[in-house]
C-alpha cells in the first residue's frame, strides 16, 4: 500500500504554496487542478462558497488517507476508495467498521468534480454534501463529524493546516470542504481514447476502434455513458438487484425511479471492478454479457437497454475499447 500511496502523491498536481505560508483563500490563488489532462473539460461545477486552493487540497488529501475519520480509527476513506483501483474497492461491497458490509459498491472517485450528483442514488448534490455521509454511516465509519472536528482541533498539525486553508479553522463544514476539494482534484484523462479523439489515429488499436463503433453505434452504450466522463449523470434501471434496492426512488419517492441508479463513469473502468451498484458483476466480460442479453427484465427497465446479440469478436472489441479508457 505504501508504495502505491507514494505513487499517488507523486501523481498529484503541483500544489503551489502548499504548507509554506499561511494562505487564506481569497479566490485568486492559482488553480490547484492544473494541468488539465487531455479529454477532460475545462469547465466543471463548483460551489461558490468553496473555491479550491492548494492548502485545501493538501489538507483534504491528508484527511482522506487518515483513519482518524472513523470511530475506532481503523478506516480511512482510502480503505474503500483505493487509489490503485481507480479510487474504488476490490470487493463487491466494502467492509466498514467492525467488519460490517456496506450495502453498495464503492464507486470510483476519479473525475467526480464533473458530477452533478453523488452516490449511486444521487442523494448528494455536491461533494461537500457527500463527503461526510460515509463518516456518519453506521456501517461505514460510524463517527460524528463534530467529534471528528474536535479531535482534529486538538491535533496541532491538523489545526495549523485548517487555519492555513480556512479563515475560521477547524469545523465540520471545513472538514467537508477540505475533503471535497481533494476529491475534486482527482482527475484522470489522457487515455488512449482521448488522444484518438484529439486526432491521433494510432492511439486506438484496430480492435478498440471497432469497439468504439459498437459503443457509439449498435451497442447503444453511449446513450448513457456519454460526455467527457462517459456518464450522463442520470439514473437508469438495468434490472440489477431489482426488488431489493429502491435506488433513485429512495431519494425522489417516485415509483418510476425504482431500481434506477446513476450511470457510473467508464473512465478507468478496467481498474474499477467489481461492477454495478451492488458489485455483482466481477469482470468486464460479465458486464458485457449482461448488457448483451438486454439487462434484467423488470417493469422499469430503461427503454435504451435491449438485447444486443453481439458476436464474440464484437465483445472482444468492446472490451478493447473499454481498456482504452484507462487514463493517467
Amino acid at each position: 500500500m505504501v508504495p502505491l500511496l507514494l505513487t499517488l502523491v507523486a501523481l498529484l498536481p503541483v500544489l503551489p504554496g502548499c504548507g509554506t505560508s499561511r494562505m487564506v483563500d481569497a479566490g485568486q490563488s492559482p488553480s490547484p487542478f492544473r494541468p488539465l489532462p487531455v479529454g477532460l473539460d475545462e469547465f466543471f461545477v463548483l460551489p461558490e462558497d468553496n473555491p479550491p486552493t492548494a492548502a485545501k487540497v493538501a489538507l483534504g488529501r491528508r484527511l482522506f488517507f487518515d483513519p482518524v475519520l472513523s470511530r475506532d480509527s481503523t478506516l480511512a476513506c482510502s480503505s474503500c476508495h483505493r487509489p490503485e483501483r481507480g479510487f474504488s474497492d476490490t470487493v463487491p461491497t466494502s467492509i466498514g467498521i467492525a467488519g460490517q458490509r456496506t450495502t453498495r459498491n464503492a464507486p470510483t472517485l476519479l473525475n467526480r468534480a464533473y458530477g452533478v450528483s453523488l452516490f449511486w442514488d444521487g442523494r448528494a448534490a455536491t461533494l461537500e454534501d457527500a463527503v461526510l455521509q460515509p463518516v456518519r454511516n453506521a456501517r461505514e465509519m460510524d463517527h460524528d463529524p463534530v467529534r471528528v472536528a474536535g479531535r482534529l482541533a486538538r491535533d496541532r498539525r491538523y489545526a495549523g493546516e485548517f487555519t492555513r486553508a480556512f479563515e475560521d479553522g477547524v469545523s465540520t463544514r471545513n472538514l467537508a470542504r477540505a475533503l471535497a476539494s481533494y476529491v475534486r482534484s482527482l482527475r484522470s484523462g489522457n487515455a488512449a481514447i482521448d488522444r484518438y479523439l484529439a486526432g491521433d489515429r494510432g492511439a486506438l488499436s484496430p480492435d478498440a476502434r471497432a469497439g468504439l463503433r459498437i459503443f457509439a453505434g449498435r451497442g447503444n452504450c453511449v446513450m448513457c455513458h456519454s460526455g467527457a466522463t462517459f456518464t450522463d449523470e442520470r439514473f437508469h434501471n438495468t434490472g440489477i438487484s431489482w426488488g431489493t434496492d429502491p435506488g433513485r426512488s429512495g431519494v425522489t419517492g417516485d415509483s418510476a425511479d425504482r431500481g434506477a441508479f446513476k450511470t457510473p463513469t467508464l473512465r478507468n473502468v478496467a481498474r474499477t471492478g467489481p461492477y454495478m451498484h451492488d458489485g455483482s458483476l466481477g469482470t468486464l466480460e460479465d458486464v458485457l454479457a449482461f448488457y448483451d442479453r438486454g439487462g434484467n427484465p423488470n417493469p422499469n427497465l430503461d427503454p435504451e437497454i435491449r438485447p444486443l446479440r453481439l458476436a464474440p469478436r464484437e465483445r472482444r472489441a468492446l472490451r478493447a475499447f473499454l481498456e482504452a479508457l484507462t487514463g493517467q
Binding site: 479566490g27 485568486q28 490563488s29 492559482p30 488553480s31 487542478f33 492544473r34 479529454g39 477532460l40 473539460d41 475545462e42 469547465f43 466543471f44 461545477v45 463548483l46 460551489p47 461558490e48 473555491p51 479550491p52 481514447i193 484518438y196 479523439l197 484529439a198 486526432g199 489515429r201 468504439l212 463503433r213 459498437i214 459503443f215 457509439a216 453505434g217 449498435r218 447503444n220 453511449v222 446513450m223 456519454s226 460526455g227 467527457a228 450522463d232
Partner: protein, 632 residues
C-alpha cells in the same frame, strides 16, 4: 458522415479582444427568469428600428455572415460550391476559392464568417476526402489555409475570437459527443471547455471583450426547445438563462452587455435582447421585434445591425396525371394541398392509393428543423398531422401494409437511421440505427414488405453500399459496394420487387471523367445490367412505370445547377430511346412517386429561396445594464 442537416451548429463571429486569466472555477448558475406580470412585456428602444431587404433572388445563400462594418457578406456560390464574398454596396459577388465546376469537383464551402479585422474569412469546407475541415482565406484572395482538420471530428464549425488568433469551435465527434472548444491558429491546439452528449449548440459566439461565450442548447433530452447559456471563456463559470419557451441565440450586441436572442415566449418567434453583467442576466428580456417568421441570424455588425436570412420559396407537392406510354400529360400539375403552401415536400402514395403522406415544414424557425408528417385523404382532403419525435426526417416511403411510413432521419438522440412512423399514431420506432461515421438512407420497400433496400455510407471505410435488410432476422446483406469517389445515386425498386435501379457514377472529375450509368441489379443478387449511359450530366432515378417496363429519371446537363424545367425521361428497360415528358416549367422537381393506378404522380417542385435582410437600430432600452468600466 454527418451532413449539414444532421448538425446545424452555427457559430458566429466576435469582434473584440480576449483576456485570459487563471482563476478558479465557479458554480454553474441557473437563472430562472423573472416572470412578467400580465401585460408587462419589457420593450427595447425601437424608435430607430428599420428593416430592409438587401439581397434577393435565386443566388442568395444564407450560410455566410456580414463583415463588422456591414459592407461585405460572405456566402457560398452554389453554382460551383465556392466560397464567395458579396459587396453589398455594389451588389456584386466574387469567388474566393476556385474549385471548378461540379463536374470537376464535389468539394464545397459551407458556413463562413469574417475575422475581427475583416481581412480573412474562416469557413467550413467539404473536402476531397469527403470530410469537413476549417479553412481561412484572405478576403482579397490567395491560397486558402487549412486551420483545423481532425478525422475524429465529423463536423467542425467555428468563429473567431476577438484577438483573431483563436477560434471558438463546436465539434461533433465520432463518438457522438459534441464539444465547445477553443482552437489556436498559432499552434493548432484545442482546449475543450464543454463536452455534451448527442445534443449540441446551434449557435455559439464569443462576447466582444472575449470573456464570455454565449450558446444555445436543449436542456432536456426529450424535447428540442433550447435555452441560452453564458459560459466564461476560461471555463470558470456558466449561467443558464432558463425559460420554458424556446430561446435561441442570435448573438452579442456590440456593447457586450446585451445578448440578442429569438424566443417564442409570446407565441410567435420574436427578437429579444437580454441585459447581462458578468455573464449573468441583470434584467428582463426586452422585446425588439415580434412575429419573425423563419429567420436565421447571420451576424450583428459593429453598429448593431442584425443581418438575417428569411426563408421563402415555392417548393411544394404537386399532383399530375401522366400517360407514360404515350408521353403525354393528361392533367397538368396542381398543388396537392393548399395549406402551408411553399412548405410541403416529398410525398408518397399509400399502397391503396387513397392517401398521400407528405412532409411539411411548419417550424417557425428557419433551417433544417423536424418536419411534420401529413397524411392526407386524397378524396376528401382531410388531413392528419403528426409531429414525430425526430430531429429531422426525409423521404417518406409508405409500408406495403399501409400501417407505417418509413423515413430516413435522426431521432431525438441524434441517431441517424431508418425509422418507421405509425400512420395511426405518429409513434416512431427505429428500423436501422447507424454506427458513427456511417449512414443509412434512400430506403425502398420490397412489395411484400419483408425486405428494405437502402444505401449505407461508411465514411471510415470510404465505401458506399446497396444493402438489403431482412426484417424478420434483422440482418442486412450487401448487394453492391462502391469505393469512394465512385458511388451511386438514389434507388428505385421495380413494381415486382425483382430489380433495383440506380445511377452509378465513377466519381472521378475533370474533362475526361466518365458519365453516369443507369443500371439495374437483381434484388436476389447478381451482376448489374446497364440500361443507359450519359455524358456529363447529373441523372437521378425517379422510379418505374407500374408495368415495370420503363424507368423514370431526371437529367440535368448544366454544370452550374439544375435544369429549371422539371422533365421526366421515360427509358424502356428493354432498350430504346427515352421519351421526355415536361411536367413543370420554370421550376425544378424531385421525388416523383407513381400512384398505384400508374397514371397519377406526386412530386416535389420548386425550391427553397432565401432573402437577406438587415435590421438596423436594434437598441436595448436605456439604463438596462451597468455602465462599462471607465464609461462616462
Amino acid at each position: 458522415m454527418k451532413t449539414v442537416f444532421a448538425v446545424f451548429a452555427f457559430v458566429t463571429l466576435g469582434f473584440l479582444g480576449w483576456s485570459q486569466r487563471d482563476h478558479l472555477k465557479q458554480a454553474v448558475a441557473v437563472a430562472e427568469e423573472a416572470r412578467d406580470a400580465p401585460g408587462e412585456i419589457a420593450q427595447a428602444d425601437t424608435s430607430k428600428l428599420v428593416t430592409r431587404r438587401i439581397w434577393a433572388g435565386p443566388q442568395v445563400d444564407p450560410l455566410g455572415a456580414p463583415s463588422a462594418d456591414g459592407r461585405l457578406l460572405s456566402h457560398v456560390d452554389w453554382s460551383t460550391g465556392d466560397l464567395a464574398v458579396r459587396d453589398l454596396t455594389t451588389g456584386t459577388s466574387r469567388r474566393l476559392t476556385s474549385k471548378g465546376s461540379w463536374f470537376e469537383s464535389t468539394e464545397f464551402a459551407l458556413f463562413s464568417n469574417f475575422s475581427p479585422d475583416g481581412r480573412r474569412i474562416l469557413y467550413q469546407w467539404f473536402n476531397s476526402e469527403f470530410e469537413y475541415d476549417l479553412r481561412v482565406v484572405d478576403v482579397e484572395g490567395g491560397s486558402p489555409r487549412v486551420v483545423y482538420r481532425n478525422p475524429q471530428v465529423e463536423y467542425p464549425i467555428a468563429s473567431w475570437f476577438p484577438d483573431g488568433e483563436r477560434l471558438l469551435a463546436v465539434l461533433s465527434l465520432v463518438n457522438r459527443s459534441n464539444q465547445i472548444a477553443v482552437l489556436s491558429l498559432r499552434d493548432g491546439g484545442a482546449r475543450v471547455l464543454r463536452t455534451f452528449d448527442w445534443r449540441y449548440p446551434n449557435r455559439a459566439q464569443v462576447s466582444p471583450d472575449g470573456r464570455w461565450i454565449a450558446y444555445d442548447f436543449p436542456p432536456g433530452e426529450d424535447h428540442p426547445q433550447r435555452d441560452v447559456y453564458v459560459l466564461a471563456a476560461d471555463g470558470t463559470q456558466e449561467v443558464q438563462l432558463s425559460h420554458p419557451a424556446n430561446d435561441e441565440l442570435v448573438g452579442w450586441m456590440p456593447d457586450g452587455r446585451h445578448l440578442a436572442m429569438t424566443s417564442d415566449r409570446t407565441g410567435t418567434m420574436a427578437l429579444w435582447v437580454v441585459p447581462l453583467e458578468q455573464g449573468k442576466a441583470t434584467g428582463k428580456p426586452q422585446l425588439v421585434k415580434s412575429d419573425l417568421w423563419r429567420i436565421m441570424p447571420l451576424g450583428i455588425t459593429r453598429k448593431g445591425a442584425l443581418f438575417y436570412n428569411v426563408q421563402s420559396g415555392n417548393r411544394d407537392v404537386y399532383l399530375a396525371t401522366v400517360d407514360f406510354s404515350a408521353g403525354r400529360v393528361l392533367a397538368p400539375p396542381a398543388r396537392a394541398a393548399e395549406r402551408f403552401v411553399g412548405s410541403n415536400f416529398q410525398a408518397d402514395w399509400s399502397p391503396d392509393g387513397r392517401y398521400l403522406a407528405y412532409l411539411s415544414q411548419r417550424s417557425p424557425v428557419a433551417g433544417p428543423r423536424p418536419a411534420a408528417l401529413v397524411v392526407r385523404a386524397v378524396s376528401t382532403g382531410e388531413e392528419r398531422v403528426f409531429t414525430p419525435a425526430m430531429n429531422y426526417l426525409q423521404r417518406p416511403r409508405w409500408a406495403p401494409d399501409g400501417k407505417s411510413v418509413l423515413v430516413t432521419g435522426q431521432d431525438r438522440k441524434s441517431r441517424q437511421g431508418l425509422y418507421l412512423i405509425s400512420a395511426q399514431t405518429g409513434e416512431v420506432s427505429p428500423l436501422i440505427q447507424s454506427e458513427p461515421q456511417s449512414s443509412a438512407t434512400q430506403a425502398e420497400w420490397s412489395p411484400d414488405g419483408k425486405t428494405v433496400y437502402y444505401r449505407r455510407d461508411n465514411q471510415a471505410e470510404k465505401q458506399t453500399r446497396i444493402m438489403a435488410l431482412d426484417r424478420s432476422s434483422g440482418a442486412s446483406r450487401e448487394l453492391r459496394a462502391f469505393t469512394l469517389p465512385a458511388g451511386f445515386g438514389s434507388l428505385a425498386i421495380s413494381p415486382d420487387g425483382a430489380q433495383l435501379a440506380y445511377v452509378q457514377f465513377e466519381g472521378t472529375r475533370g474533362p475526361n471523367a466518365a458519365g453516369p450509368i443507369l443500371q439495374v441489379i437483381p434484388t436476389a443478387g447478381g451482376a448489374p445490367r446497364e440500361i443507359a449511359r450519359f455524358e456529363r450530366a447529373n441523372v437521378t432515378v425517379l422510379g418505374w412505370t407500374r408495368d415495370g417496363r420503363s424507368l423514370l429519371y431526371e437529367r440535368n446537363d448544366s454544370p452550374e445547377g439544375r435544369d429549371p424545367v422539371f422533365a421526366v425521361w421515360v427509358q424502356p428497360v428493354a432498350g430504346g430511346e427515352p421519351r421526355r415528358i415536361e411536367l413543370v416549367g420554370e421550376v425544378s422537381g424531385r421525388n416523383l412517386r407513381v400512384h398505384p393506378d400508374g397514371r397519377r404522380v406526386a412530386f416535389t417542385a420548386g425550391q427553397d429561396r432565401h432573402e437577406i435582410w438587415v435590421m438596423e437600430g436594434v437598441r436595448p432600452a436605456k439604463s438596462t445594464a451597468a455602465p462599462a468600466p471607465g464609461a462616462r
